[in-house]
Symmetry: D2
Subunit: 383 residues, 4 copies
């Protein structure tokens, strides 16, 4: 079994969908997984047309995910897919995941977990009952320097955490490009496809997950302000949130899609009683440590004594940049390892972690709470 | 008159006071001003001991500011000081400024303007009645690239402003150093010396002033969270504020003195409909412009076609770093120019601007409103 | 044919060999190529043991490259490999490539092309006679921003080129780790495995190729200084070269493996009459343009109007870092495209370029000339 | 005597001369020195017109340096200048310095020391005979992080030095602006005013001095290539030099004034057996330390335990940028301290060091040797 690649079926990812190709590259990079089938689009013709792009034979290019799950379940175990990856707009996450699980397939699902919080809660129960593996692709926690950051905080190097600044200021929705037919923008800004929030559901949720992953702290209260800056847009495209954590720490989270000129600069700074850390996704192989009484340190992927967690998620020697696809691939590879362990009756090795249904559910709750808080107007003090 | 240096008297700045020396360096850098007298400390012996450090003769080293103002006012016009600089703890700003103005002396005063908002309002009236010049040393708006930023926003290069992120995360008060006798920390964390707020009064006010200066926007509402993280401290050492502006823009302001390991990284990002800008005080000669559809630009002091405002506040060719003292000196030089104009019966040249009593008062109001908002607990939504 | 993946055989890349895995990841990333067989080591047992690591069945895990080429050539066309990738120490490049070509297999070969310049010249003839494709993996020219740089120079944006600064200061050979059994260091510092030069053959050659690729200039004269700083080492571990180019431009190339603490910061700066450019491998998605009379520009992968060459080598939206593996994969993908074209009787599309035998030969000549120049002592002027 | 400011006379620095004002700002910043007289230009009218700019009374605004030195020498000791600063084009350094010394005045002189090496050797003898103080304003060694670098090398933190990369690539002479009447360019590119070399005499000399200051190594051999890229220019505007040092280390020095788009990015990297350091003038408050086996360190002005040398040359708390004028002022302040000590019959305190006649002479030798080496054509190996 270790000698064969695990077999993946893809739900979504048809022509024009950016993230399907990314999932595929991430899945195959480490030689653990091969794509064997797909239901690439809710449009049957488009789905069929996408098969050759992925070099999938027509026989396993399905027109709906229901068809795929049913057909694959009917194949002999030596042929059928081992798991599905769901990369559709949010609305379809729940029904696709539910059906896959109920047919015995493990699941990798893009974020946010579901369309509504209620679906997320139900899905958690289904996963728990199934005993199957479930991964949510919060990509950014796959970076080695994020793993290093988590270990440093865990080891108490920063002392008790006091302040967290996390930000995700994109600019790509600065204009109403959904009207112009941009597919990515189209579904994300459409409450029927995306859910309650655009800025928080699409990117704020990454920021929130990054905080939890690095610090292990839980939000206890929040105070949010969501905005829709672009005329005609149906969902928020910007928001800022004040945060309280369960250890008394405070935080600020900003996520925006109208910070014109910004690319994808997710960044986090965490300050404790003893020092601070800073990580920036656009220079992902550097982790900056800041100390009150000595030189700042540039911790770098591949340099010096790093945690086993960082080392286990690094492929190249120092100075050979690993990027977004490699971080993404870490999630897939770890999922593959866990799946092999599962098939061998073993528990997953915690060294090879990946975001699971709990983190997925937590993200859905974050969206709900931010929207709830944002509606309340009495937080404002007049000048 | 243009051939003589303007004569300055210093109130505060005795031994151990960091900011007095800075004011002096800033005042003399451009050959417009000389220090001729001082009341350097509320401790008469300390004041006397400080005279030689400033190379001031004993005869003009006074033991109190009252004595100084009285004595200097009695000197012939050809000898007496032209203006005072007030660099004491906040509590003394108002009485010293008031007496100076009432005796016909122009005033340069450190920030925050006064101890209370009420004093600030009174002081504004006194200044207006006096017809004398009054500068508040919000140092950071003296940087050429801040002036460039203001001009770019004014010219509409970014379009209508939507989002402002401003931050001032210091780390120097991460421990209770005021107990250990650190003089700077001592008075700033003492409500009897400093006023209602430490983090906002000392540095948040700079962040707020920077926003106003660059964007010309006014805060209409805010929602603040102030914290005291260090045990035994009497004032806040951290805070974050959500902001609404009069044009519909939103903002986030963070000021903290417990971001362990941070130095003095005041930074601002402003995003409009057409693009964004970023300025960081620790690399002050660079202004980053961000555009949705083309390469980012690094606008640099001394390079290319800059605004006359930026050029008028630059001393060196490109690549010869100008720093904090030079920015500070721009305020003093411009104040000196205005004073010469004033003596010549001319209006100040707006090219050589400096923060005045209005900006000082606005800062005091900011402190008041943030403290007021922070007290209200009903802004929080439970998780 | 477009629907099947191209079949690759790997020569070298056995356990402990870093670069074999990198070639594999690069080859499979874009779903164009699959690894079907390998002769992973000159040690037959090691080769056999490496098969499962690559998920290659025992039947196609060969013990020597000769065996592999012979056996694969005997397979039906629908099964046999399409091309070989040679990732052995330099000494074996020539015989392996020669045999592959003579048996009708296309070749991807790591750099430097061969062990000696003479072999390189012979190989060029063999390739030309064969009509087969030959790629040399100068990885760094696969980066989109390097392609952008080439297009900018080509379009004359910098004007006539005057000065080129290229550097490759690594630190990993600062100690004699080859004695300690480091396999990578072992063969690279061994003249029996590596050839005439270590620092120039391993990394200087990348720097030289980068210059040629970006500027299209040819070296006409050089003046080199090679050094061996680590005691007991048999080849140079450091060198600097003054360069003259065929248009009158001058350059400096530094390559070192004893710059302790450096990772892999290959960097190039090119200055013309109108402006300059700078590219740094450790931040590969940024290309800095410098102008005498206006703001510097940060050209970024995925932002704004880039050349079709840059766009054709980018997989992700702006701000999602693509790194070394992606640059490497661009070479493999382009080779795959050319191979498909070749099988279809078409010429390669110049948009999808890759380094070929000519660039490989040029690198070998560079090594030879640098070693020749370095030996001459009469270049030095005494102080 | 400690209570009075030292009195400076300025030779050069008239209207249009950038560096005169810089010397003045640097001289007065620390309240140790006042400008009392000047011979600001070789053009008497221009000199007279410059007096008011410096707020110097007409009585002490001289028309020639000879007149100034003679007249000042005739003043009572309590009035006359203590020292002269020479900021003229190079040609006048020697005669002005000679006359000042012979009349008992200490001297601060801009670099390069003289017009010719022969003058420099003579001047050294005159200085030594006179027993007077002589400073050469190699500005860049006044930065605190350069002093820190020197101390780290001295303490052996980097181990034995192996490789030095120093570069000074400016762009301001990319076009023939001397023809257009640019005064700065005019005399620097004029062999009658400037000497044997432009690029090396103006900036290469700074790079060379920086190497010596940080490492205490001496050049034993060099191999240089000087170029004149701009048509019609009479002196070199670009050059690169391979260096050998007395401990076996090697180096590369590049200085250019035709690197279009560059500002003033003097930078040095020093690598030893144990680690490396990097300092960049355009971010002068950061010193990067690089280690083979642990995180890079960002040593910052004002942060942590720094050498007493760094601390003694820092005015502001961490994160308040100090720049070029402050570095320059460190030379003047230290010169003032030494002068006070001299007047008190004490030796200079080595903590407050400044570049002296020996470093000045060494720079002149560097220019000579580079020019000598550059002429030799037999260093080149044909491709």
């Amino acid at each position: 079994m270790n000698n064969r690649k695990l077999r993946m079926g893809l739900i979504g990812g048809g022509k024009g969908a950016f993230i399907g190709k990314v999932h595929h590259m991430a899945a195959v990079l480490d030689n653990e997984i091969e794509l064997v089938c797909g239901a690439f689009s809710s449009d049957p013709e488009k789905s069929k047309a996408s098969g050759p792009e992925y070099k999938i034979p027509e026989s396993r290019t399905y027109t709906t995910y229901e068809e795929m799950i049913t057909a694959e379940a009917a194949l002999p175990e030596s042929e059928r897919m081992d798991f599905v990856s769901i990369v559709t707009p949010n609305r379809l996450h729940f029904p696709a995941a539910k059906m896959a699980l109920e047919n015995g397939f493990h699941v990798v699902c893009d974020k946010p977990l579901t369309f509504t919080l209620e679906e997320a809660e139900k899905l958690q129960q289904i996963v728990q009952k199934s005993g199957l593996l479930f991964a949510v692709t919060y990509t950014y926690t796959g970076y080695p320097m994020v793993k290093e950051a988590r270990q440093l905080v865990k080891a108490g190097k920063l002392g008790k955490i006091r302040k967290i600044l996390v930000e995700y200021p994109q600019g790509w929705l600065s204009e109403n490009i959904e009207i112009g037919g941009n597919k990515q923008a189209g579904w994300r800004t459409d409450p029927e496809q995306s859910g309650k929030s655009c800025s928080m559901g699409d990117i704020g949720i990454h920021a929130s997950n990054l905080v939890t992953y690095i610090t292990d702290l839980e939000i206890t209260q929040l105070c949010a302000d969501l905005n829709t800056f672009v005329a005609g847009r149906k969902l928020d495209d910007d928001g800022s949130v004040l945060l309280k954590f369960n250890n008394g720490a405070k935080g600020v989270l900003t996520a925006s899609q109208v910070c014109a000129g910004e690319e994808n600069p997710l960044a986090i700074r965490v300050y404790g009683e003893l020092g601070g850390l800073e990580w920036r996704q656009m220079e992902p192989n550097t982790l900056i440590l800041k100390w009150p009484d000595r030189a700042k340190e540039l911790v770098r992927t591949g340099v010096g004594k790093l945690s086993e967690q960082a080392l286990a998620h690094t492929r190249l020697p120092a100075g050979h940049p690993e990027g977004y696809i490699e971080a993404f691939a870490n999630i897939y590879r770890n999922f593959a390892y866990a799946l092999r362990n599962s098939k061998a009756g073993k528990k997953p090795d915690p060294l090879f972690d990946f975001p699971d249904i709990t983190e997925g559910l937590s993200g859905m709750k974050f969206i709900d709470k931010v929207v709830e808080s944002s509606i309340s107007e009495n937080k404002w003090t007049n000048w």
